[in-house]
Symmetry: C2
Subunit: 135 residues, 2 copies
């Protein structure tokens, strides 16, 4: 039994498998909170999202790897899960494979239309450590 | 011209007037982020939400008044606004007037069905100081 079997209750796994947006909170340079909606993937153990290295959120996570992520059921606004966790790894998104996979999940497209070739993309892998749920 | 005329761009005022959920990020006791979906109101200047004093988020805000709030357009997931701000006031919700008004906004009900009479409710008023938008 992996840690995640405890961290993410079976009752709310479906939210992690849905194509809802996740809202991710990170810590800014002065210890202040930041919040952004993101596309994400979930493999049953880790939550992943893609990012360019130019973004504030990337710099935040390099400095402080702690995150909180809230996801609401798209069909029931009274059901949600909040995950807290830390960055396990940040890896280059070779050939845009990861952000293309998110475009497939969220838009049904093989190629992500938002790619900016001048920017560097990374895959950020989050290990959940705690969860809170409602509904 | 008030500060908020600058802070919240006219192009994204409609998100604050919508009945989307807002996701609010606060800072926990060890400086870690927390994220929760909330009901909110907006009067053109301040964003407000209701809370019981028993909740972690309330204790967080008493300790560190800084928040970040992200709101996504319910009809266009590529449009959002993030507000950063601080708690301006925390007041008792006399007669549940505020949380009843949120039930009216979000559920069309005069009385909030989630009220727990054993708990104390407060109205938390946020003053936006900075915004980021997409779409």
């Amino acid at each position: 039994m992996s840690q995640q079997d405890n961290v993410v209750p079976a009752s709310h796994q479906d939210l992690l498998e849905s194509n809802a947006l996740a809202h991710i909170a990170t810590i800014g340079p002065d210890g202040e909170p930041q919040s952004t909606p993101i596309w994400f993937s979930w493999d049953g153990q880790y939550l992943r999202f893609g990012h360019t290295t130019a973004r504030q959120k990337y710099r935040n996570l390099k400095r402080d790897p702690r995150v909180a992520i809230s996801i609401v059921d798209q069909t029931d606004p009274y059901r949600y899960i909040e995950l807290r966790g830390t960055v396990k790894s940040i890896e280059n998104d070779e050939g845009y494979a990861f952000i293309n996979s998110l475009a497939k999940k969220y838009m049904g497209l093989d190629v992500n239309p938002f790619i900016s070739p001048s920017e560097q993309y990374v895959v950020i892998t989050i290990e959940p450590e705690h969860s809170t749920k409602m509904g």
